[in-house]
Symmetry: D2
Subunit: 435 residues, 4 copies
Amino acid sequence: MSATSDAHVSGLAAELEPQLVAWRRDFHRHPEPGFGEFRTAAALVRELTALGYDVRLGEEAMDPAARYFVHEDRVAASWERAREEVEPQLLERMAGGLTAVVAELRASDGPTVALRVDTDALPVTESGDPDHRPAAEGFASSRPGFMHACGHDGHMAIGLGVATVLARLRPSLHGTVRLLFQPAEEGTLGGAAAIAARGYVDDVDALLSVHLGLGAQSGEVWSRALFLATSKYRVEFHGTAAHVTNSPETGRNALLAAAQTALALHALPASSRGWYNLNVGVLHAGEEQGVTPRHATMELGFWAENDEVHDWVDARVQEVVAGTAAAFGCGVDVRLIGRAPTCAQDGELAALVRDAAGAVAGFDRVDDVILCRAGEDACHLIKRATETGGRGVYVLVGSDLASGHHTSTFDFDEASLVRGTALVAETARRILSPG
Amino acid sequence: MSATSDAHVSGLAAELEPQLVAWRRDFHRHPEPGFGEFRTAAALVRELTALGYDVRLGEEAMDPAARYFVHEDRVAASWERAREEVEPQLLERMAGGLTAVVAELRASDGPTVALRVDTDALPVTESGDPDHRPAAEGFASSRPGFMHACGHDGHMAIGLGVATVLARLRPSLHGTVRLLFQPAEEGTLGGAAAIAARGYVDDVDALLSVHLGLGAQSGEVWSRALFLATSKYRVEFHGTAAHVTNSPETGRNALLAAAQTALALHALPASSRGWYNLNVGVLHAGEEQGVTPRHATMELGFWAENDEVHDWVDARVQEVVAGTAAAFGCGVDVRLIGRAPTCAQDGELAALVRDAAGAVAGFDRVDDVILCRAGEDACHLIKRATETGGRGVYVLVGSDLASGHHTSTFDFDEASLVRGTALVAETARRILSPG
Amino acid sequence: MSATSDAHVSGLAAELEPQLVAWRRDFHRHPEPGFGEFRTAAALVRELTALGYDVRLGEEAMDPAARYFVHEDRVAASWERAREEVEPQLLERMAGGLTAVVAELRASDGPTVALRVDTDALPVTESGDPDHRPAAEGFASSRPGFMHACGHDGHMAIGLGVATVLARLRPSLHGTVRLLFQPAEEGTLGGAAAIAARGYVDDVDALLSVHLGLGAQSGEVWSRALFLATSKYRVEFHGTAAHVTNSPETGRNALLAAAQTALALHALPASSRGWYNLNVGVLHAGEEQGVTPRHATMELGFWAENDEVHDWVDARVQEVVAGTAAAFGCGVDVRLIGRAPTCAQDGELAALVRDAAGAVAGFDRVDDVILCRAGEDACHLIKRATETGGRGVYVLVGSDLASGHHTSTFDFDEASLVRGTALVAETARRILSPG
Amino acid sequence: MSATSDAHVSGLAAELEPQLVAWRRDFHRHPEPGFGEFRTAAALVRELTALGYDVRLGEEAMDPAARYFVHEDRVAASWERAREEVEPQLLERMAGGLTAVVAELRASDGPTVALRVDTDALPVTESGDPDHRPAAEGFASSRPGFMHACGHDGHMAIGLGVATVLARLRPSLHGTVRLLFQPAEEGTLGGAAAIAARGYVDDVDALLSVHLGLGAQSGEVWSRALFLATSKYRVEFHGTAAHVTNSPETGRNALLAAAQTALALHALPASSRGWYNLNVGVLHAGEEQGVTPRHATMELGFWAENDEVHDWVDARVQEVVAGTAAAFGCGVDVRLIGRAPTCAQDGELAALVRDAAGAVAGFDRVDDVILCRAGEDACHLIKRATETGGRGVYVLVGSDLASGHHTSTFDFDEASLVRGTALVAETARRILSPG
C-alpha cells in the first residue's frame, strides 16, 4: 500500500479549486491561436518552473518541421501582441511559433507517466451577452476574433493542477511525471506531431490525455474516447487567365478543374474496411465574368473510422487532384494543413483510470469506450507511445456545457476542474506508487 | 447648300479644345459608378441648361424598373459623397440611382438626331505612377477604387462639345438635337434600357453613339462598330449545412450543385447559328472543411454573335441551373445583372458618317465595319431606334491609348476629343440641314 | 417429450440422400430465369402433390402486380421451351411468369411453420471444363446462357426433402407446414414480394429461409444471416438527336445527362446512420460520333446497412435523376427493377435453430449472426412475417464450394443437402410438437 | 486552239451514258466497306487496264501504315466474300485491305492532271421499299448491312467515264492523266492519307475531286466545296472491377472516368480562331450493377473550321483524356480512328472548272465556293498537292437526291453522271491542251 491515499489526492485537488479557477480564467481571458500561444506558454513555463519542474520550451520541446501547417499571419499578429506581455528571453525561444512546453519532475527511478494538454484557442469571437458567464463575470476574451471555445483553458488548469498535486506527492512517488503542453490542436495542425518527433513519448509508460465535455455531463467519465483519423488539405489550382471573347482558347480554367475535382473526390466509393466521409468544404475561384478563372482554392477534409481507410482515401485524393489538374492543363499545389491518426488505447490503463475515478469524489457515471466523430491531435502521441511500448488513453471528463464546443457562448462547468485534476493525479499516483 | 459649312463645324470644334479637355479632366477626376453618377449628372445638367437645352433628369429621363441590376452599396456610397457636392434639389431627383440626363434642343420642324453618351466609371483604382499622365498632370481620380478607365469621360466631353457646336448652329438647323447621357454602361447593367423604356429613341431619325479607342489609332474612324449580344447572371445556390461526420446525410451540398452547374453550362454545344462563348467566371462556396457547404455564389456571362444564339444560350442557362439545383436539393436564385443585344446598323447613315469624316480635319483612315468582341449597352438604343423606324450607328473614333481599356493606366489621346466632336456635329448638321 | 426424436429426423434425412441428390441434379440440368421457372415449378407441383400437400400455383400463389420487374424476353424464351416439357394445364396457370408454388400440409390445429425456397437460376453460361463436376458427371446445364450458379437447385432439393420428412412425421405433428417456392430471387426482382402480397406469411408463426454456402464451410451453420437493403434501377434518358456540325444547338444530350447523373449519384455523402454504397454499374449512350446522343441507359444499385439509410439514398436518387435530366432538357424514365429490405430476425427462433443443429448429425460449428454484404429477397417475407406477429430467421448452412457464387464453375458439397434437410425438418418438428 | 473542242468532250460523255449507268449500278449492287473494297478494286483494275492505263494496286498504290484505322472484322468478312469473286493474283495484292487503285495514262510531256475518286460504301442496310429505285429496278445492295449510300458508286462511274473519254482524246493531249481511286473515305479512316504517302500527288499540277449531291440540285455546280477539319477517336478506359459491397475500395471506376472525360471535353471553351464542335457520340461502360465498371469505351469526334482550331482541340483532347484517366486510376488507350484536314483550294483552277462547266451541256447554275459542314478525306490529297506546288479543287456536282446522304433510301439522279464526266474530262482537256 502506498504512502498516500486516493482520498488524499482528492483532497489536494479540492483545496486547489480557487487556483484552478483562477488559472482557467486567466487563460480564458487571453486566448491565442495555434502556434501563437506565446503568452500562454510563458505563463505555463513560469508556473511549472516554480513548482520545481524541469521545463523545456521552443526547439527543445518540439520539432518545427513536423508541424503540418502554420497560419503565418495569425502567428505574426499574436507575436506582435506578445512582445508587450512576455519577457524577451522567453519569447525569443518561441520565435516562429515554437510554443510547446514540456515539463518533467523526476521523483526517482520508476515508470514515466505523461499527461498531454492542449493549449490553443479558436478563431471565434466570444459573445458579450450578459447571459454568457465569462462576459458577466469579466473573464471573457480580451482578443477580438479568438476565444477558448473548446475548453483548452480548462485543460491547462487541470494540467497545472496535476503538476501541483504530483509535486506535493513527490516524496512518495517512484518514477517520473512529464507534462506535454501542446500547441495547435484545433484543425490538427500538428502540435502533437511536433512534440512526438522530439521523442517525448517514446519512453513513456502511461500517457493520459484529458478533455472536458464532448457531450458528457458533469459527473460522467469515459476512460477511452476514440476518434476518427483525419486529414485536411488546401489545394490551389493554377490556370491561365484569358479574355473570354478575344482569346478564350488561351485560357486554362482553374474553376472547372476545381469543380471536377470536387465531384470526383465526393464520388469515391464507400469502403468495406470502415466508415469515412470526405468533404470539399470551401471553394473559391475566379475573379470576373469576362476572364477565364486562373486560380481556384479548395479546402477539403476527410474523416475515417480507422487509419487504413484514412490512408486509402488519402492516396486517392492525391491521385484525383493531380489527374484532374492535368486534365485541365492547370498546375496544382496540394498542402496538408492538418492531420491526425486514430489510436489504439490500452484496456488495462483504461481500467486503472476507471478504478481511480471510483476513488475520486464527484463521479457518478464511469464508463469505458465512447466514439467521438472528430479527429484528435493527441492520437499522434498515444499512437507513438503505443508503438514504442507504452500505454495510452484519452480520458473524457464530463462537464455540463452552456452551449456546444466551438460556439461563441461555449462555457463549461468549472466544478469539473477539481474532478479532472483529481482523476489524473490519482491515476498517476497509482502508477508511480510501488506495488 | 446649307448656311454653315463643314469647315465651319471643324473650326468650331477646334476652338472648343481647351474646354473639351477641361470637361474631360473634371470628369476624370470625379469618377462615379453605374447608377451612382450623381455629381456627373449634375454637372451635365448645369452645362446643358446653360447652353439652352431642355434638360430632363431622374424618373423623367429613365424608367427605374428597366434597369437590370443596381449595386446598391456602391450607389449608396456615391450618394453619400454627392451630398457634399450636389445641390439638394438636383440630387433628390436622382434618388435611388436615377442618373440619366436627356437634353433636347428643338431648332424647328425637321428630323431628330440623337447622340448617346455613357457616363459611368469603373471599379478600378487608378495608377499613381508619374508616367501615368493623369497622375502627373493632377487630374487622376480623387475617388479610390473608381476610375474612368474606358474613356467615358472623353465621351461626355464630346457630348458637351457637340451640344455646344450645335447650339451655335441652331439658327441654320431644321429639326431637333437630342443628347442621351446614359448611366451604367459597364457590365451593361441597363442604363440604356432604362432610357429606351421612356421612348426617347422612338422618334429619332438618326441615332449616333460614339466610342474612343477600342483598338483604333488616332486618326482612324469606323462608321459601324458591331458588338456581341451578352447577358450576365449571378446565381445563388441555397443548400443545407450539416456536420460532415455527425450528420452528413442531412446536408444539401451547394458547392457540388454549383460545380456541376458550371460543368454543364460549359458543356453546352457549339451552335451552327453563330459563335458564342460562355464563362462561369466566379464561384465562391462553403465556409469550412467540416461543414457541408450550404451556400454557393456563381457569376457567369455569355457573349454571342447574334441575338438568336444569345437567346438560345439564355434559355439553356435557365434550364441547366434550375435542373442542377433541383438535383442537389438546393434552392436557387438566378439574378440577371447585365444584358445587351446586338443591333443592326444602318448603311446609309454609316455612309453619311464616313462622308462627314472626310470633311473633318484629322482623319487619315475612314472605314465602315469593325467587330468588337464585347457587349455594348448602346445596342439597346440603336435596336429600339431601328425597330421604331429610325437609323442608328455606333461610331468608333480611334485614339492612341497609354494602355488597354479597363486597366489602371488607361489614358487616351485628348486630340481625339476635337475630332470626335467635329465628326458627330458635322454628321448632325448634314442631317439637320435642309436639302 | 414428442413422439418422434431428432435422431429420427436426422435418419429420415440421411435415407433421402440419393433422392436429394437426384432432385438437385435434375434442377441443375434445367435452369430457368426469374419468372421463367416453368419446368421447375411444374416439377415441384408434381412432387408436392404426390406427397399429399395442398398445392397452389400461378395467381393463387402470387400477386403479379407486386413483382418489381420481369425480363419479358427471357420469360418468353423460357415459355417457348417449357411448352415442350410441361403439361398445358399446368403451364397455362403460369402464363406471364406466375411461377410461385405454395404447398401446405395441415396436420392439425397448431402453429404454422413455413420454409421459403428460391427457385430461379442465373444468366451464366456453365463451364464445360472436365474439372467442373456437373460437367464431368453429366448434370451440367442443358440451357446455354443459364445456370444454377447460386445453389437454388440445392435449396429446392432441401425443400422437397423437408416436405418429404414432415409428410412422414405428419401423424405426430400439431399444426401446419407451408412451403413457399419463390421465383426471381436473383436481382431481387420481387418473387418474394409477390408471394407476401397474397398473405402467405401473415399467419405464419415461424418462417425459415435457408441458403447454402455464402462463405460458410461444410459443417458450419449460422442461425441468422443478415443482409443489406437494396434497390436497383434502370434509368433511361431521352434526349434529342442532332447533326453535330449542321445543327448541334437542336440536340439534347442524353449521354451528358447520364454522365452527370452518374457523378452526382456517386457524390452523395456518407450517412451517419449506417454504411451504404451506390454503384452505377452500366451506362450505354449514343450511336455515332456525328450525332448528339439521344438516348442513354443506366443501371444502378445501392446497398445499405439498414432500411433508413436505404430509403434516404432512394429519395436522393429520384431527386438527382429528375433534376439532372431536366438540366439537360431530357426526358427520363426511372424503372425499379429490384428491391429487398433488411429484416429483423428473431432471437428465440434462432436459438431453436441452433439447438436443432446441435441435434443433427454433421454440424461442427454452430453460430448465431453473420452479415452477408448483399441483398436478399427473403427479407420481404421475414419482414412481413414479423410485422404480422410471427418470427423469422434466415439460416445459413455451410457448404464447401468449388468456386464463388455466380461463377461458371460454381458447385457445392452435396453432403450439405442432408444436413440442411435435417436441420429445417428438425426445427419444424420441434415447433410443431406439443410442449 | 486545241484539236478537240469542249463540244466534242460533252458528246463523248453523252455517248457513254449507258455504260456510266451500268458501271454505277454494278458498283451499287456490290458495296464494300472501307479497306474491304476488294471486288470493287478488281473491277476498276480490269476496266482501267483495258483502257490502256498503267495500273497500280496494293502496296504500290498506298502505304498501309498511313491508314488511321482498319475495321479488321469488316475487312476480313469482305475478304472472305471476295475470294469467291476475285481472281487470286489480284486479290492477294490487296491482302490486309490494300484496296487503292492508281491508274496513269501518259500522253506526252506536259502537266499532270489527277482525279481522285472514293470507292467505299457505308454500313447501312439498303431499303427494299418498291419506292426505292435501286430496289424497284433490281440493283440494290446484295450485301446486307452495306450500301453505297453516299454516291461513291456514281463517283467511280464518273472516274471510269473520265478515264474513257481522256483515253480517246489521248492523241491530242500533252501531259499525264492520273486517276486515284481511294478506299475508306467514310469516317475518314485514311485511304487518302495512304495514297498521299506514296507521293502520287507530289508531282500533280491540277488535282480534281468530285462529289455528287451534298445539297446541290441537278444542274448546279460549285467549283470549290470547303470542308471542316476533323478527327475521330476511340478511347478505352481500363479500370479495376470490384464487388461493390464486399470490396468497393479496390475498384477503379472506368465509367466515372469516362463520364468525367465526356464532361470535360464538352466543356472546352469556344475558340476565337474559328468555329468548332466536339461530340462524345458513344459511351459504353460497365457490365452489371453489382460490380465497379472496369471498362469504358468512348467514341468522340470534333470538327473545326480550320486546322489551327483542329490542332488546338486535338491537343486538349489528349490532355483531358490522359489527366482524367489518371485521376480515376485507370489506364487508357487513345486510338485515332479517322482524320482529315481542311485544304486551301486554288482560285485559278476553280475558275477553269467554272469555265469548263459553262462549256458542258446541262449546268444551269455555276458557282464558286460552298461550305460543307463535314470532314473530307480528299483534303489530305489536295493539301499535299498544294504543299508540293500543285493546285487542287473539290468540285461539287449537283444531283437531285431521293433522300439524304447516308440514309437507307439514298439515291441520286443518274443524269448527273454524264455531266460530271464531261465536266472533269473537259477541265482536264483544257489543262492538257497546249496553249
